[in-house]
Amino acid sequence: MPYEILDHEADAGIRGIGCTLEEAFAEAARAMFALQVELERVEPKEEVRVKCQADTLEGLFVAWLGELLFQRDLTGLVFSRFEVELNQQEGGSYRLSGRAWGEPLDPERHRAKVEVKAATYSGLKIGKTDDRYYAQCVVDL
């Protein structure tokens, strides 16, 4: 699986892994929703587009996850598929435009689990090992 759930005493860590940074960001989003529902039961029927920016790549990662939680509460959708595009601006800040696909939450059919409250700076790391990128942080449950 290109994402991992990491052990944390109070909450959970999520780590997305991919051939590109974009893939790692998208996989981390899958990890975050895998904590909340059974991903394979969520059909990617409806699309939501998000944009965010931050001074650092790490900040951008947390902003991306935060944006998806915002969209979850605003639209009532849960997501199972993601696409990410990253850009570095001239001043050095980072921008992300992303797409998320999902459907309205059906707690029973999607086997709703626990609600993720927020993405945090705890355990926040973005890096590369061998030829794979990873992006991780702890999420508050």
Binding site: A10, A12, P107, A112, K113, V114, E115, G123
Partner: protein
């Protein structure tokens, strides 16, 4: 290892003396087992551990006296959970990790005139009714439908807003922290996004460790306090544990970025990224604190609404009138508040952060409801769904040593992932039923994560707080019905 050599002050108090960049010493309240667990995490080189977090807090600018960890301590974000730290208003900082993402998460407890036997006779019916009436779990929506403009009124008025909508009784406010409404709220400092996220979530319980429990008083330890609180053996209580829902979460998410920038701007050395902060007297710090106050009021409105729903369920099952169910108290455990405490022999205003810790004022404080002033106000220590909860109270010693703070729960010991592997929701529910506890949950996986075995022994935590003298045991409670998100 030597970096975390703890000095034993007494059987229940340990100190990490000032060293390196620490500005004050750190003190941990707990028995040998609690201390061993903390040191074990250091030894194992765990990526996140509470002792290191406590040391980081002790190194923040303007911290006064001591950085504290109470017996329910475990790793948090920047601050350890079960952490208390107070800051000088002029030189100190406000730290996001000291409040957390669920601003003013807390427990409201109500007293019913029922006895355990009354509830046992209709336990199933009550459980079904509460499960239906209390919105909980991922994606649930509340009873109150608000416009975005009305959200500002929630943030300004707190529990009073819910009361104006007909949720609850006027006397509820007297037994709510801040009388149900904290001052210093500026709704403009809360993002539109936070308000948009919230407007369907007023009066919802949430998920994770949040719950509504029907409990009975199994044992009383402190007759005088129990009398002041109006508690009797076998009496049935209703405990509601939840916070500021999406609004609080979004305030946290928004200010994480803003305070990260502020930390850099003001040159505050940050030892853990999540410990972002701003000087209390900076525009960023003032904005954040006013947003926190908005979050505090949102949580108070939330619990006021949920209490109303619980009263309705009890009316339907037992024919009780609303005024027959009275408030015991409502107390938060994720806050930063300006309070007067004694520092270096002087009484002065400080900003007290309590992350996973309640205010626990001892006798004589005017912030407590008048009937509780002689004994100190009650605090609620949430157990797990299979074990006891405790009612404790603030003490004079706690006022002197711990900025009038108290424990808030058992504290997790096992990760959610491990708990899910080890426990099964359905089986757990069956086992608890055998013990006379009816559990209704929206998520079986969620139930497994909250298995009693995943938590520290609540008795050990309560005993350590009691024996250290910072809190005093008043009563032990046992659940009869548990509603989980």
């Amino acid at each position: 290892m030597s970096e975390f050599e703890l000095k034993r002050i007494s059987d229940y108090v340990w100190e990490l003396p000032k060293r390196d960049e620490m500005r004050v010493p750190a003190r941990i309240y707990g028995d040998r087992r609690i201390i061993d667990h903390l040191l074990g995490d250091i030894r194992k080189g765990k990526e996140w551990n509470a002792l290191e977090q406590l040391k980081n807090v002790a190194s923040l600018p303007g911290i006064v006296k001591v950085a504290l960890a109470l017996p329910d301590v475990h790793p948090g974000y920047g601050f350890p959970i079960g952490g208390v730290a107070a800051f000088d208003l002029e030189e100190g900082v406000v730290a996001m990790g000291g409040v957390g993402f669920d601003i003013n998460c807390g427990v409201r407890t109500l007293k019913t005139p029922l006895t355990r036997q009354d509830v046992l006779a209709r336990q199933e019916e009550l459980a079904e009714r509460l499960f239906r009436d209390i919105p909980a779990g991922l994606g649930s929506e509340g009873d109150i439908k608000l416009t975005l403009k009305e959200i500002d009124q929630v943030l300004l008025k707190g529990a009073k807003f819910a009361l104006e909508r007909g949720y609850g009784l006027p006397e509820d406010l007297e037994f709510t922290e801040e009388r149900g409404c904290i001052e210093g709220c500026i709704p403009a400092n809360v993002s539109q996004r936070a308000k948009e996220r919230q407007f369907r979530q007023i009066g919802t319980l949430g998920s994770g460790n949040h719950y509504l429990e029907v409990q009975y008083v199994e044992e009383i330890y402190d007759e005088e306090a129990a009398k002041a609180y109006g508690l009797e053996k076998d009496q049935v209580l209703i405990a509601i544990h939840c916070g500021s829902r999406a609004l609080g979460h979004q305030i946290g998410q928004d200010y994480l970025q803003e305070l990260e920038r502020a930390s850099k701007k003001y040159g505050i050395p940050i030892r853990e990224r999540e410990l972002v902060c701003a000087p209390i007297r900076s525009p960023e710090g003032e904005r954040y604190l006013s947003a926190v106050n908005c979050g505090i009021n949102c949580a108070l409105a939330n619990r006021q609404t949920l209490a109303h729903l619980a009263r309705k369920s009890f009316a339907a099952v037992f024919g009780l009138r609303p005024e027959e169910i009275q408030m015991l108290y409502d107390v938060g455990h994720n806050t930063a508040k300006i309070e007067v405490h004694e520092v270096d022999g002087q009484r002065k205003q400080v900003l007290v952060h309590r992350k996973g810790s309640t205010r626990a004022f001892g006798p004589g404080r005017e912030e407590s409801p008048p009937p509780y002033r002689a004994v100190g106000h009650p605090i609620f220590i949430g157990g797990t769904m299979g074990t006891w909860s405790y009612i404790m109270r603030g003490t004079e010693k706690g006022m002197r040593e711990a900025f009038g703070s108290g424990i808030h729960g058992a504290g997790r010991e096992m990760s959610r992932q491990k708990a899910k592997k080890q426990f099964r929701g359905e089986q757990l529910r069956e086992e608890l039923k055998q013990q006379g506890i009816l559990v209704r949950g929206h998520s079986m996986a969620g139930l497994a994560e909250e298995a009693p075995g995943a938590y520290k022994d609540i008795e050990m935590v309560a005993e350590a707080a009691h024996n250290s003298g910072i809190n005093q045991k008043v009563a032990r409670l046992r659940p009869l019905v548990v509603i989980k998100g």
